[in-house]
């Protein structure tokens, strides 16, 4: 990119990769935006403003703000030992920053030594030397005290001059405060893809007030009206699909809670008609409307079968990993005495809902190894899909078929 110090790109690469390593989704496009903004002098000559600018250009979601602050703080510290953030920044900007911070006396000193151009040239030279010596590229960061470049920082002609009193210090505080800590890692992460997969499960039906022009009917009645326009309206189409979600919350599901929470969050915003119940390992004669209050509130499975007719689409979410007894023997349940075997109930439920699938968070390649997964797959007549985007996609196609 023109107008940037050659070292800037090298330096920035490091920052970019560090951000990406920290799982902040940054692409080249954002980086170029930031560079363009720097050239347009948006940040003024203030390092805090530079931080704000980098943040507004590189971070696109509040849950990444904390990660960004951490990386910025860490990265900035590395540079601080060297003296400055100069290679990150276009020369022009840096020069002006220097001018702003330097005293008259210092400026004269710089002039005496050949001026800013000379300074930048030497800087570049030193950087190159340094690179060869370490051949790591940006390893020179942090070797402050010993490297010629680091020592250079104390030269009155170096860019560090005037920094001690703290534009930097103040700046560091801003990101070291990490005010966005509690926004990190919310459940919403990545639900967009899931929602897109769930969209396959759409059944449009017309309901509500007549708002939309019905073209076919209008043409028909206009023709019948001897060419005089006769408008016909119909109700808008809405997604009328009805989904019944049965979720396993047994102990073995603990490892999959995150995925399930994501799916659940996506489903609850995608489907207006969504009902859900919980079970442990295998559904028996009762299900729980609330996982936390499962010993208090329970709904008889038969009642659910009566309440929701077969136009509902049924989705099980569970790892189907349990002792085979929990499926095939009465009294085999891990939690209570069941008069009828889990398999019987499962069969009853699957029969009641012709459109049903089982989503399994256990990776497909491990399915063979668990006997109970095989048994449930048999009951589901093969309609078990892995809880991945691809599996979800297949499951939705299956449900709509």
């Amino acid at each position: 990119m023109r107008g940037l110090h050659p070292a800037a790109i090298v330096m920035f690469e490091g920052f970019l990769y560090e951000l990406r390593d920290a799982k902040v989704p940054v692409s080249l496009k954002e980086f170029l935006t930031l560079m363009a903004a720097m050239k347009q002098n948006v940040a003024g000559y203030d390092i805090t403003d530079f931080y704000y600018l980098a943040r507004t250009a590189l971070v696109k979601d509040e849950r990444h703000l904390d990660k960004f602050d951490r990386v910025f703080g860490h990265y900035f510290k590395g540079i601080e030992t060297l003296g400055e953030v100069e290679p990150v920044i276009p020369e022009e900007w840096l020069k002006k920053l220097g001018e702003k911070l330097l005293t008259e006396e210092e400026k004269n000193q710089i002039e005496a030594m050949g001026g800013w151009d000379k300074l930048m040239e030497t800087l570049k030279q030193r950087l190159d030397e340094q690179k060869e010596r370490h051949d790591g590229g940006n390893k020179w960061v942090g070797t402050a005290g010993t490297s010629p470049y680091g020592a250079y920082g104390y030269n009155p002609e170096g860019v560090r001059i005037g920094q001690e009193e703290s534009r930097n210090k103040r700046a560091v505080k801003v990101w070291d405060k990490r005010e966005f800590r509690n926004l990190d890692d919310q459940v919403e992460i990545g639900t967009r893809n899931i929602k897109l997969a769930l969209r396959r499960l759409r059944q449009f039906a017309r309901s509500g007030a007549d708002m939309e022009l019905d073209l076919d009917d209008t043409i028909r009645s206009t023709a019948r009206n001897a060419g005089w326009l006769d408008l016909k309206l119909v109700a808008e189409k809405r997604n009328a699909v009805k989904v019944l979600l049965l979720l396993d919350i047994g102990g073995s599901m603990d490892g999959h809670i995150r995925t399930c929470a994501q799916l659940f969050s996506a489903a609850s915003s995608e489907f207006k008609n969504l009902e859900y119940f919980y079970f442990h390992n295998c559904p028996y004669e009762a299900l729980w409307p609330d996982a936390a209050r499962r010993h208090v509130e329970r709904v008889a499975t038969n009642e659910i079968l009566r309440t929701y007719d077969q136009s509902w689409k049924l989705i099980f979410i569970g790892d189907a990993s349990m002792s085979p007894y929990e499926i095939e023997t009465p009294g085999g349940s891990a939690e209570h005495w069941n008069d009828e075997a889990g398999g019987v109930w499962l069969d009853r439920i699957v029969t009641a809902y012709p459109k049903s699938v089982w989503l399994n968070p256990v990776p497909e390649r491990h399915w063979q190894g668990t006997e109970s997964i095989g048994m449930i797959r048999e009951t589901m007549a093969g309609r078990m899909f892995p809880l991945t985007l691809d599996g979800l996609d297949h499951a939705m196609r299956r449900l709509i078929r």
């Binding site: 403003d49 507004t56 250009a57 696109k60």
Partner: protein, 283 residues
């Protein structure tokens, strides 16, 4: 180049100022998120005011389509007019209804365009506007003309996080998250709205306000706009700092709480807490 520095009615933090100026300088949209009531929509109004530009607002609803922001062709009216023998029907342009984006693109001076609550629309909505917002131009099929922005408007987009926005869309925007103001900023904000408010009253009101916000389990935490309403109410009712301070410790809930708590479950929560508090004191 015009720069945004906040206005007398709006306290802009440094980071917000930088974000807005970056968006203005690079002519990219600025996506603003934050808790409800932290002044996302107001921001666009204030930017327009500060820069002396017109504001064009496009409110997004769940039924809004991207095309409506560009233009709509009213074929039905044209057909009806045609049957009545109206001469207007000869020119299709009479039946092209311009949308907000078209309006913004063709304004004689670059306006501020506010796309409010973009997350309310369908999940594909932002994608449908990618090219239009990127190049600031679009094609009208009916008249075979290209609408190109004469001056690129300053685009402010707000979102309440109801839906996630697509990456391709985000890459084209600057992003700013309006944090909930800390006490100091909040005092400043209140001061801007109610200059000359008694210092005592302000301090007590803010203490009570942040106490309410800190109560765990609230369904809807009161925000800046609720605080401003409440203070206004306190002033109208002529409440003094004393009244606020001498709140009965058994009654946790502040006076005139209707302005702060908008949800009856939250009011119940406070009553329950007051009850527990009372019982513990009784021991």
């Amino acid at each position: 180049m015009a720069r945004f520095e906040g206005t007398e009615n709006y306290v802009a933090t440094d980071d917000l100022r930088v974000a807005v100026n970056a968006a203005i300088a690079l002519e990219r949209p600025l996506l603003v998120k934050g808790e409800p009531g932290t002044g996302k929509t107001v921001l666009a109004h204030e930017i327009a005011k500060a820069l002396g530009k017109n504001l064009i607002t496009w409110h997004i609803k769940s039924t809004t389509k991207a095309q409506q922001g560009l233009y709509e062709y009213d074929a039905v009216t044209r057909l009806r007019d045609g049957q009545l023998g109206d001469a207007k029907t000869g020119d299709i342009r009479n039946y092209i209804i311009r949308g907000k984006l078209w309006e913004a693109f063709t304004a004689p001076e670059a306006p501020v365009l506010l796309i409010d609550e973009i997350d309310k629309a369908d999940i594909e909505f932002p994608n449908d506007l990618l090219l239009e917002l990127d190049r600031m131009e679009f094609y009208v099929y009916e008249t075979r003309e290209m609408v190109v922005a004469q001056h690129r408007p300053v685009v402010i987009i707000t979102s309440n996080n109801e839906k996630e926005l697509p990456d391709a869309f985000l890459r084209r925007c600057f992003f700013h998250y309006i944090r909930f103001p800390d006490r100091e900023t909040m005092a400043h904000i209140v001061d801007v709205h109610f200059p000359g408010l008694q210092k005592e009253l302000l301090r007590e009101a803010l203490t009570a306000f942040y106490e309410v916000r800190d109560v765990p389990g609230l369904k809807k935490k009161p925000s800046t706009s609720e605080l401003l309403d409440w203070i206004k109410l306190l002033m109208v009712e002529d409440m003094s700092a004393e009244d606020l301070r001498q709140r009965d410790p058994q009654k946790l809930i502040p006076p005139l709480h209707g302005a702060l708590l908008k949800n009856e479950q939250d009011v119940h929560l406070f009553e329950r807490l007051a009850f527990i508090n009372r019982r513990e004191r009784g021991k």
